[in-house]
């Protein structure tokens, strides 16, 4: 009989997840407290959504926005109406918008380059339009932002526990007592006692069949499997918005999925979207102009959409970045090089003799994503605290702030750290909480099993169930069948693992199934349709009278409880 080894750690503040939010949280926490641990499933130097870069971040830049006639309040209102369709944690959104620029200045202090001599804007900033009706997205040199942040984490004095996947929480008397992780390389259970825990493990990826057919060929990091959300749910934390889903997740290059907003975003100024006849469907930014009214007009400036062109028999769609002066081309390549997955893209382009000047890139709508538009996660108050005292959440982990993205990660990470430090300062010694028992039993079963189901089979089954029952044919009866199928899988699978790497994947399957079940249950509960992120066949109409709310779901004494919250 093999038993998984358990290693104990103790700290004041534990940050679970070393992405943008987690790094900023660890830095601020370590400035305020000398006993901080940052736990990352891989290595914060290159982990998370911005692992290989981040070339853009929105904020309120007073010196530019005021001149352009946009107040902070107007920008927040624009986001509320046009990005979040009204359903948003307005107070947190305001905080993000108001402090994003301060955190950008922190990034500069840590060593990121944000000013450029070719800009005549105040502060020599390069500013682009992204999702708001003003030029408020900074283009900066963020290829190595995670290395820069990791250096700042170490300098601030936080300890880094890498290659540990946080997958459970410790509680005592209804309050947080720590986190539990599994060592993806050492194969140990790590019990981390803490007076406060900040969750920043990000989105739930890998739930839907990947568009190119390969499990790890997805846009957002495949290492993000909703570990934090599953752990929080099991610990009784209330999650909101879990039913929302972006369909498709994005339009991206077929089949090498890349981000950066092809053909917009990082691919400006040269990029346009064209149909198979060469007609421009999405114009270049500077041809669209600056007077933007987000979301109120047609999806694309031409009045045509990529999907519409496909359905009209004029597919496929391409991104064409071949136009522009040499300087414009250099600007675009600079942005792509600094955006997540961009360095790999440019490397592959060169290796396979592809050239943006000579080749256009085919675009397709990729698999659905629990995205920034969906904003599913724990409900947080104005201090980033969840419904479990002492447990905080930031960035994509937190629920209720659509489109918060990178600025949400930096600002909420900072705020959660301040809140956690305040709590830790007022608390006595860390309590010895409970919560790892089921995890230990799950690991031991697998360690002692010879023969059984490889995790890849469970992954394929999850992809099938979630894709079949929760995308286009969504209804109460379909969701109920999806739930039956996930529960059958959970009860029937006998996972096997040859080493800690494979056992990590088995634990991911456990969390994906947990998140899938939460999603399907909330899907049944929300009896309406809501914009692009939630379409039901049996309730095709939006019902604001009953459902203009965050739908919360939590476990209370082993029983499910749903609750509506006014935003």
């Amino acid at each position: 009989m093999k038993n998984v080894e358990i290693q104990e750690h103790s700290c004041d503040i534990c940050v679970a997840g070393g992405g943008l939010a987690g790094c900023m949280a660890a830095i601020r926490a370590a400035e305020l407290n000398d006993n901080v641990i940052l736990v990352d499933k891989s290595n914060p130097e290159r982990s998370g959504c911005a692992g290989t870069g981040l070339d853009h971040i929105w904020g309120y830049f007073p010196q530019v926005q005021e001149q352009e006639g946009m107040s902070l309040e107007q920008m927040v209102e624009d986001h509320v109406e046009n990005v979040a369709q009204g359903l948003v944690n307005r107070r947190m959104l305001h905080y993000i918008a108001a402090t994003s620029y301060d955190r950008i200045l922190d990034l500069e202090r840590f060593g990121a380059r944000i000013r450029f001599d070719d800009s005549t804007l105040p502060g020599k900033l390069r500013l682009q339009y992204q999702m708001h009706a003003c030029r408020n997205t900074l283009h900066f040199e963020g290829r190595d932002i995670k290395r820069i942040l990791t250096r700042a984490v170490r300098k601030a004095g936080a300890r880094i526990l890498d290659r540990v996947m946080v997958t459970e929480l410790l509680t005592e008397n209804g309050e947080i007592a720590g986190a539990v992780g599994y060592g993806t390389r050492d194969g140990k259970i790590h019990r981390i006692l803490a007076k406060a825990v900040i969750m920043t493990t990000g989105r739930v990826n890998r739930l839907y069949k990947p568009f190119p057919g390969l499990t790890f060929a997805i846009r957002m990091p495949p290492a993000l499997t909703g570990d934090g959300k599953a752990a929080m749910f099991r610990a009784g934390v209330e999650l909101i918005n879990m039913e929302f889903l972006s369909v498709p997740g994005r339009w991206s290059s077929r089949n090498l999925i890349r981000g950066g907003g092809l053909p917009t975003g990082s691919y400006q100024p040269p990029g346009v979207g064209v149909n198979a006849l060469g007609e421009v469907i999405r114009r270049r930014n500077h041809d669209v102009g600056s007077k933007t009214v987000y979301g109120t007009a047609k999806t694309f400036a031409t009045g045509k959409s990529f999907q519409g062109e496909l359905e009209a028999g004029r597919g496929p769609i391409y991104a064409d970045m071949s136009w522009g002066s040499e300087e414009d081309q250099r600007y675009m390549l600079w942005a792509v090089e600094n955006e997540g997955l961009g360095p790999g893209f440019l490397h592959i382009m060169e290796r396979y003799a592809l050239d943006f000047r000579k080749h256009k890139i085919e675009l397709w709508p990729i698999e659905p994503e629990h995205s920034a538009a969906a904003a599913g996660g724990p409900m947080v108050d104005e201090t980033c605290e969840t419904t479990l005292p002492g447990l905080y959440a930031a960035g994509d982990e937190a629920g209720g702030i659509p489109g918060s993205v990178a600025p949400g990660a930096f600002t909420m990470g900072y705020l959660a750290a301040e809140s956690a430090a305040k709590r830790a300062a007022g608390a006595g010694a860390a309590a010895d909480g409970k919560g790892e028992e089921e995890l230990v039993a799950f690991c031991n079963e697998i360690l002692n099993r010879s023969g059984g189901d490889p995790w890849e089979d469970a992954q394929a089954t999850i992809h099938n169930h979630m894709s079949d029952y929760n995308i286009h044919l969504r209804s109460e009866t379909m969701a109920r069948r999806g739930l039956e199928c996930l529960e059958y899988l959970e009860n029937t699978m006998r996972l096997t693992a040859a080493n800690s790497h494979e056992l990590t994947h088995c634990l991911e399957m456990r969390n994906l199934i947990e998140c899938g079940k939460i999603i399907l249950r909330s899907t049944i509960e929300r009896r309406e349709s809501r914009g692009k992120i939630f379409q039901r066949r049996d309730y095709p109409q939006q019902d604001d009278a009953n459902w203009f709310c965050f739908l919360g779901q939590k476990l209370e004494n082993g029983r499910l409880r749903f609750q509506k919250h006014k935003p």
């Binding site: 001149q67 057919g213 290796r351």
Partner: protein, 118 residues
């Protein structure tokens, strides 16, 4: 094999193994050996190993389903008649000048999807 390591260039520093977010490499610091690619099918093609290798020894090979099938571009370098558009493009994110829509029909620089990149 998605990441490929040039044996002649590798200096066994282990950085690729240390930073890979997908943990596809196996490496033992004590043995002077090129890291092995233990889980090639789990590569995300993010390029972290390519960027961080101090010797430029790592490159990415795409599996067949991820190949980009070449398709000729439509534009190429613009002609002299595009000089005004080129200036607007260059100034767009870097100039104090208020950019304005040429025909006033601009409806947004976004793609209608609430998230962009991250």
């Amino acid at each position: 094999m998605p990441p490929v390591i040039d044996k002649d260039l590798c200096n066994y520093c282990g950085i690729c193994y240390n930073i890979c977010p997908q943990d596809v490499f196996i490496f033992d610091k004590k043995q002077k050996q090129v890291p092995a690619i233990a889980y090639p099918q789990e590569c995300w093609y993010c390029g972290a190993c390519v960027v961080d290798c101090p010797r430029g020894a790592v490159s990415l090979n795409l599996p067949l389903p991820l190949h980009i099938v070449p398709s000729p571009a439509l534009y190429g370098p613009p002609g002299p008649e595009d000089s005004e558009a080129l200036k607007r493009a260059a100034d767009f994110s870097r100039s104090i000048e208020r950019n304005s829509s040429k025909d006033g029909t601009g409806s947004g620089n976004n793609s209608g999807q609430a998230e962009d990149g991250l």
